[in-house]
Amino acid sequence: MLDYVWLVPLFPAVGFIINGLIGKRIDRRLVGWIGCSAIGLSFFFSILLFFELIQLPPASRHHEFEIFEWVVSGDFRTVIGYQVDPLSILMALVVSGVSFFIHIYSIGYMHGDPGYPRYFTYLNLFVFMMLNLVLANNFLLMFVGWEGVGLCSYLLIGFWFERDSASNAGKKAFVVNRVGDFGFLLGIFLIFTNLGTLDFTEVFHKAPSLDVTLATTIAILLFIGAAGKSAQLPLYVWLPDAMEGPTPVSSLIHAATMVTAGVYMIARCNVLYSMAPIALTIVAVIGVATAIYAASIGLTQNDIKRVLAYSTISQLGYMFLGVGVGAYGAGMFHLMTHAFFKGLLFLGAGSVMHAMSGELDMRKMGGLRRKIPITFWTFVPATLAIAGIPGFSGFFSKDEILWQAYSSSHGHFLLWAVGVIAAGMTSFYMFRLLFMTFFGQCRAPEEVKKHIHESPKVMTVPLGVLSVLSIIGGYVGIPHIFGGGFNKIGEFLAPVVGGHGEVAKGHAVFSFEKVAHAAEGGGATATAHGLQSASMEMILMAISVIVALIGILMAYVFYIKRPNLPGIVAEKGKTLYTVLINKYFVDEIYEFCFVDSLKSLGIALWKGFDDLVIDGAVNGVGHLTVGLSGVLRKIQTGFVQSYAFFMIIGGVIVVGYYMIRAIFY
């Protein structure tokens, strides 16, 4: 059964091809149906595979299937091949599952759009690529998926290509991603150059032979790729702009799945990272810095999708913090829960927009909870989850990360502290969003107000499903202080990423020395510190919950109790506010440093160097010859005696030469 793994990506591919070729000519409903069922089947097979996999003993939960040889050149060989192991199947489940619901949602959301078939074509292509990314059994195929999702992201961001902002944003996303891919590509080269293979199994098998510097370099290069795809500092700039795409796209690609690919990749390459502590630290620091940086921007944004975008960046930062301290499982856990609640938040925002005739500015909303109750009630659990309120999924995963940030051998108190502050900001801006949108008076223009209506079933049902998932999704990873045996997800992932609890010791599939060592290291830390740290963990958890509550409270004070307070505060800290609302001016700086300077360099090279210097030299030779020709022809005066004169001169030269030879030789 596991051999049928290729079916998982196949269905979206089929959907893509069908919709792409004949989508325009067939009935719209059919298009949507094809798109959704392709993903649905894919989801279905993922579940089958999942159950197939957990039937197996944890040690042998690994299966590869090669379809055909792809690029073979000399000793270089890559295949189109997929692998099933806990990590990939988890990702496949998340991807196909979330996509499935978002596809359904999209049927409603996009129903009036002229590009409807195109939309589903792209979306199916995206899922296909994403599944390639997560199921690939080698770096190159992963890279294919990696670039493929980037392409889909580009296409979908620029879906409404008539809008300049949309096409600009798409291009920006692609190019920035390419910067990351550059790193990824170099990482791949380095891996192949040193290990002679790109197959995951073999690479991780041989990885221990690498020396630390090399491993660190590879790890950092791969992380550059991850940072590009997952919008980490300093390559995050494309993600906020990516909100130009249709909202379900933002939900699927720019929140739930694609952007988390970086986390997945690091988790996949945990062997390499565990060998390179410096790289890990970099990952963690970048992660936490991104978390607080993006959160701080999120505090002031008024565009509902932008807030969510920065929130996504911030949450991705958490995930990197998690994997950066060696807690790959925790990172993956947060990835999963985040997919649920962030996907939901975006879909909710989409529903709000749907109701508000496309309005995005929160300052023009308010009081929507009565008008679109389903949206509101599904929105709330997601908000609570992201804010880290105990009992909701986000709490479990985020807390796991924070705890690991503090306690892991790669962790540090500061990492934890910053993470907690960021968590506080998160709860503030999320509740700010909630309050501004759903509470208070409706500030929308009358016209819009009249049209506010709840979304159709096809949209609200996915909302409901996801809201359920946002609540219960966390219970697969209950911290061991609440009962050791319940961290199902850590247990499940352990064969691949090592790490958690008792199970870690037992895993056998990758029982190679270093891996085992790394895993045991993680495990040992946990157990050795188990007893003393239990109380510590409780304390830290409490602190973070309190911080989150303070955030909520402040939001309540600012946006419910005293709505004029934000203005005052903004006035007081004007500089800070300006910096924050303008996103630290990073876009402008980038524009100046990279875009403008590149353009002017291009022009300088073109006009200055190419036309003037090179072509100037080429034409110069030509002109010189022609000029010389013009000069030389003037010797030909037409007078017979001047010809004789030149003959004599030439004759004397000839004679002179001969005579000199005759005399001196």
């Binding site: 050149s73 290509f161 692609f174 390419r178 353009k599 073109w606």
Partner: protein, 526 residues
């Protein structure tokens, strides 16, 4: 089957003869005849692919006929895995070019088709010639029809300049190669006593390092101009821009490959020691070309110029890969030659299609075409992505292998070249965006018609090829594996056999005394 290669070379000439007997006003008949001939040509070239023996590095389908006995010049043809693919590319692109000229060329159709068929003969001939003189003959023969294509059917404004520049520039480079060919011949004659211009025999000659420098330099300049490598590239934008669409396609698709092919077939295996000495220079120029081409390309206002500069960038990869001198680099490089032919050829075709509709190539005149020309947009997108080198398309496989190969042989070069990946995406997408996206600002663009069936028929094979080559490259790699491997082994073997290095004698005028020795007084009589 014995004379398959000859048939392929000279079939277009037969086509020319047939065309000569058609009334010049009868455009449709001329087009049909030219198309049929090119199609038959392509079909005839397919057996090369299917009957090709993957397992041997020997030249296949060889034909040897003495031509000029006193010099040992032979009419020697043959293909290996490297030239096989390029021959196919040539015959394939020619069909599409003729198809694409259907409505673009309305004046002097007969002369146009004649030029094109002549061009095909020259190109195929140069690719399959295994005798240096024969190669040189075909190499130059290519120039004339191309020159006419640019000069007669080109853009009225600067076509003459462009045509002249193209011709003289390439000619200036290749004449030096002629001298080098002769020098090589006489060197071999002296060393072995065999009169031959055959490449296969000359491969075996061990040449002193000092001599190799000069010979390699002469060959390299000729080929570098054709490629074109960085400081020799300025003929390219002009020629590309001014040429008619099909001319640009062939120019980019095949003619530029002659340069890179020349390196791999002649310059490198003949003079490996010199190649190694010049390697850093060539690599650095190639890298400069990659980045420079991309940067300049980014700012172009003219679509064709933009694509032309992108060729500079892409060909930089090809050169770099070749000089990586390992399997991945060289194979990637050969593959990238094909890719560039397919994707840049397609780009030119597409640009030609909108040029035909709007009679402008300025990017600023377009915008928002996606809306009115959705089919065009999709194809354009695919081709753009192929040019960027997106995985799944052909461009990726070549680019990846090249970079991998380069990275393996010298990391620094690999890293520098890889930056081109970023820039490539930037300029191509920006161009795409400016042409296809946004509002339609120019009212003239509102009325544009989408591609018709003929145009779609022209593009579909290319698009399919883009994907086939991207997804199942093995089909092509198996053809060239052994040949490339043999190339590398031969290179290495010859490199290690380097002869002792006496100083090259190039100052004959100063060595009259030695002439006197040679011509002793007694030899002056009859």
């Amino acid at each position: 089957m014995d004379h398959l290669l000859s048939t392929i070379i000279f079939l277009p000439i037969v086509g020319v003869l047939v065309l000569l007997f058609i009334n010049k006003e009868n455009h449709s008949a001329i087009r049909v005849v030219a198309f049929v001939f090119s199609l038959v040509e392509f079909i005839l070239s397919l057996p090369l692919f299917f009957l090709f023996n993957n397992a041997t590095h020997e030249m296949q389908f060889q034909e040897v006929v003495p031509w000029i006995e006193s010099y040992g010049i032979t009419y020697h043809l043959g293909i290996d895995g490297i030239s096989l693919l390029l021959v196919l590319l040539t015959t394939f692109l020619t069909v599409l070019c003729i198809l694409s000229s259907w409505s673009a060329i309305t004046v002097r159709v007969k002369e146009y088709m004649i030029s094109f068929l002549f061009l095909e003969t020259g190109m195929v001939g140069a690719l399959v010639a295994l005798d240096l003189v024969l190669f040189y003959v075909f190499w130059e023969v290519m120039l004339i029809p191309m020159y006419l294509l640019i000069g007669i059917w080109g853009d009225p404004k600067r076509r003459i300049y462009a045509a002249m520049k193209f011709f003289i520039y390439t000619m200036a480079g290749s004449v030096l190669m002629l001298v080098a060919i002769l020098a090589l011949y006489f060197f071999n004659l002296k060393a072995t006593g065999i009169h031959t211009f055959g490449v296969l025999e000359l491969y075996k000659t061990v040449i002193p390092v000092g001599t190799q420098y000069w010979l390699f330099a002469a060959f390299a300049v000729a080929f570098a101009i054709k490629v074109p490598m960085f400081p020799f590239h300025t003929w390219l934008p002009d020629a590309h821009t001014e040429a008619p669409t099909a001319g640009s396609v062939i120019l980019a698709g095949v003619l530029l490959k002659m340069g890179t092919y020349g390196f791999i077939r002649f310059a490198m295996p003949l003079f490996p020691n010199a190649a190694m000495v010049f390697l850093p220079l060539i690599c650095i120029l190639a890298i400069i070309g990659i980045i420079y081409g991309a940067m300049v390309s980014m700012m172009q206002a003219d679509l064709k110029r933009l694509v032309a500069f992108s060729s500079v960038s892409h060909l930089g990869y090809v050169m770099l890969g070749m000089f990586a001198l390992n399997m991945q680099g060289v194979e990637g490089s050969v593959y990238q030659m094909l890719n560039h032919g397919v994707s840049t050829g397609s780009l030119f075709l597409l640009v030609g299609m909108i040029y035909e509709r709007r009679h402008t190539r300025m990017i600023s005149d377009f915008g928002g075409l996606s809306k009115v020309m959705p089919v065009f947009a999709v194809i354009f997108m695919i081709v753009t992505l192929s040019s960027i080198g997106l995985p799944g398309t052909n461009g990726f496989v070549g680019e990846f292998l090249i970079l991998l190969g380069v990275f393996r042989s010298k990391i620094v070069y690999g890293v520098m070249a890889a930056t081109g990946v970023i820039l490539g995406a930037a300029y191509m997408l920006w161009m795409f965006q400016r042409v296809m996206f946004g509002e339609i600002k120019n009212p003239e663009n509102m009325k544009l018609k989408d591609l018709n069936m003929r145009e779609i028929a022209t593009m579909v094979p290319l698009v399919l090829l883009i994907f086939v080559m991207g997804i199942y490259p093995k089909l092509f790699f198996t053809k060239m594996d052994v040949s490339v491997d043999h190339f590398l082994k031969g290179f290495k073997a010859k490199y290690e056999m380097k002869g002792e290095a006496p100083t090259p004698r190039l100052t004959s005028i100063l060595t009259v005394e030695s002439v006197r020795e040679r011509v002793s007084p007694s030899s002056g009589t009859n």
